[in-house]
């Protein structure tokens, strides 16, 4: 009985159930304009770029920290990429992408080092200032202009390309990366140490885990993933302005929280991220077709975000209360 409960009362099932409900609802409401194939196609717009960032954000949340500079990191790295390539007159294209990823890694590294060196400061404050700083650097580089002129295949293949009768190439990239992170988080020593650090940093340190190093590595990976997400976004938009990916950090946090990660640390899974991305695709796409209003969309996401976390808490509180009452009854009888 107990194991059964453990299997069925898991966060993942809640997300899956909700996804099915949302899908059926919009399927009934919208009919033919809302099919699995169309949803697959729309993942390009709604989830892929945020998905990369969400994996990184989820890892940071597992640590019990938070990083709100991912949008700015993406902006800075894509800016570097655009300026370095300079519409074919600068460095070769692969070098431009490498530079973008390198910038992301650097940004993440700076975040991580600051977080580790100044432990008195909440990571939110540090990444709050680096949020302004990274975007500020992008602003200095680009001014009010934009950079672009990437080779045609970049947006044709990556941004808008489809294979296997309708699966976007972008989505395949995300799906290819996810198993890597699944193994990294759930089946390696590093992953176990990461969870240990997030659950109880003091215990982790006393057990000989170099928590500082783990933090720096995770923030660096987060920066890299933010840059990858930025490149994905760029393949869709075609050109970069300094305000690209504005506010993406909040969306990434929302996805990570929906995936079951908690801001107090120690919780999170890659499978959860995938599931919550699917849920968001169904929800966002349906709402956009039905209402065509981004504010309604945000409203729904907000309700979902709070409700999904609140519901299990209330359930647990009620169960606890019932157990206490039963114990009281037992003690009365005995």
């Amino acid at each position: 009985m107990k194991t059964l409960r453990r299997v069925f009362f898991r966060w993942e099932w809640l997300v899956i159930g909700l996804t099915v409900l949302v899908y059926l609802f919009f399927q009934a409401k919208l009919g033919d304009s809302y099919t699995v194939l169309k949803l697959l196609d729309q993942t390009r717009v709604y989830v892929v770029d945020i998905g990369f960032m969400a994996i990184g954000t989820m890892m940071v949340l597992i640590l019990g920290d938070i990083d709100i500079s991912v949008g700015s990191t993406a902006a800075l790295s894509t800016t570097v990429m655009g300026v370095a390539y300079n519409a074919g007159e600068g460095v070769p294209f692969w070098a431009a992408i490498a530079l973008a990823l390198l910038t992301g890694i650097l940004c993440g590294l700076v975040n991580g080092l600051l977080v580790v060196k100044f432990k008195e400061l909440f990571p939110m404050i540090i990444t709050l200032s680096t949020l302004t700083i990274y975007r500020g650097i992008a602003y200095i580089i680009l001014k009010d202009g934009s950079a672009g002129g990437f080779p045609g295949w970049f947006s044709k293949t990556l941004g808008y390309g489809r294979v296997l009768g309708g699966v976007p190439v972008m989505l395949l990239c995300l799906l290819a990366v996810m198993p890597l992170f699944y193994v990294l988080l759930h089946h390696t020593v590093f992953g176990r140490r990461l969870f240990a650090t997030g659950t109880n940093i003091t215990t982790a340190r006393y057990s000989g885990i170099r928590t500082d190093r783990i933090k720096v590595v995770v923030f660096t990976i987060n920066g890299l993933l933010a840059a990858v997400g930025g490149v994905m976004l760029l393949s869709r938009t075609g050109s970069v302005k300094y305000n690209i990916a504005n506010g993406y950090e909040m969306q990434a946090i929302a996805v990570a929280v929906l995936s079951g990660a908690s801001t107090s640390g120690g919780k999170g899974s890659v499978v959860g991220v995938l599931l919550s991305l699917i849920l968001l695709t169904c929800l966002k796409n349906g709402l956009m077709i039905a209402y065509n209003d981004s504010f309604i969309l945000n409203l729904a996401i907000g309700v979902l975000l709070i409700g999904m976390v609140l519901f299990p808490n209330i359930y647990q509180a009620l169960r606890q209360r019932r157990q206490v009452k039963q114990q009281q009854l037992l003690s009365l009888h005995s």
């Binding site: 404050i125 908690s262 801001t263 808490n313």
Partner: protein, 358 residues
């Protein structure tokens, strides 16, 4: 030699007891640097202007301090501001009475349009009430629902912007829909000082009294520094957290009206992203994000640091490309202010420990 050490010790003691002194130094240095470049920045008018400009930021920071004190955080304040200002504006628009009177002076006819409606006080109270309700929702979910503050208020941010969009049906409220009293009240000078500055000072006084002398105010510190210990002492921690969020909401409602009146424009996404400045002002003012530490006078200085940075940069007479450096400088200054605070504290702690060794 001994005397020198004594002086040093008392200086460090002074610094560690009154963090405001370090902040005041930072503020003076910032002011001086901008003043060197542009002496106009040191004029009385400009100082009054900066005080006025910082007022809404401080009002928000005062509320944020309460929330941070109890160990929570609120990143939905711009949503609260938008919704409460928008609802107040809707009420105001529906009550608006426009009268045109023709005045003949020196044979020239001029039409004077006066817009009256609900009294200003009522509109402000509506905004503050709506803000309080939003804050109460935040606080209830955090305290009784046991949802983490960042998650709650992040979700709330989305929800509140959505509501304000629904309420306004996507349209902004402009000056033509505002009563004269509403437009004027942030422009009035009382005793040569802008009304917004007076509101700021009033807030400062009220919050100082509340946090220092009132039982509920002291409870905020107790709950923030050690929740279990506070509950042992019979403090209702949940209620304290709820109260802090309600205060934040009410003040956010007030700030929303201030912004609306000052900009004569209320949009559904009023001041998006402003919460970052508010949190930065609190942190520069030495409020601990983990709860239990914070002083309203230091928060005022923190808000002023942000105000001086924001107002000073355009006055640096940066020309050409340098104009684009503003954002970067802003971020760097926040980082430097925060880190220098930490370094200062580490130094004082180290000194104190050294002193203890004899």
């Amino acid at each position: 030699m001994k005397k020198e050490r004594h002086l040093q010790a008392s200086l460090t003691a002074l610094f560690s007891r009154h963090r405001e002194i370090g902040l005041l130094l930072i503020l003076i240095v910032l002011w001086g640097v901008v003043g060197l470049r542009n002496p106009l920045f040191l004029s009385g008018d400009k100082i009054l202007f900066i005080l006025k400009d910082t007022a809404p930021l401080f009002v928000l920071a005062a509320g944020m301090m309460c929330v941070l004190l109890v160990g929570s955080i609120d990143i939905s304040i711009t949503g609260i501001m938008a919704l409460s200002a928008m609802i107040a504006a809707m009420v105001m628009r529906n009550s608006l009475v426009v009268t045109d009177t023709t005045v003949i002076t020196d044979g020239v006819e001029t039409v004077v349009r006066t817009k009256t409606g609900l009294p200003l006080m009522l509109i402000v109270l509506i905004a503050m009430g709506i803000g309080g309700l939003c804050g109460a929702a935040n606080g209830a979910i955090i305290a009784y629902g046991k949802v983490l503050p960042v998650v709650t208020t992040l979700g709330m941010q989305y929800i509140l912007y959505g509501f304000s969009h629904v309420v306004s049906s996507g349209q902004a409220v402009y000056k033509k829909d505002m009563t004269d009293a509403f437009v004027d009240f942030t422009r009035v000078d009382i005793l040569g000082i802008n009304a917004q500055t007076w509101i700021m000072l009033f807030c400062l006084l009220l919050m100082f009294l509340f946090a220092t002398y009132f039982r509920a105010g002291r409870h905020m510190y107790a709950v923030g520094s050690n929740r279990e210990a506070a509950e042992m002492r019979g403090i209702n921690a949940n209620r304290t957290i709820l109260l802090a969020h309600i205060i934040m909401g009410v003040l956010a409602g007030l700030a929303g009206v201030l912004f609306g009146s000052h900009d004569t424009k209320i949009t559904q996404d009023l001041k998006m992203g402003y919460e970052m400045y508010v949190i930065a002002a609190c942190v520069i003012g030495g409020v601990s994000v983990t709860g239990g530490v914070g002083k309203i006078t230091a928060v005022l200085l923190g808000a002023l640091v942000i105000g001086v940075i924001n107002n000073g940069l355009p006055m640096m007479r940066l020309t050409g490309d340098a104009e684009f450096w503003k954002k970067l400088i802003q971020g760097l200054l926040i980082l430097i202010a925060v880190i220098s605070n930490v370094v200062l504290r580490r130094m004082t702690v180290r000194r104190e420990l050294k002193g203890r060794k004899i």
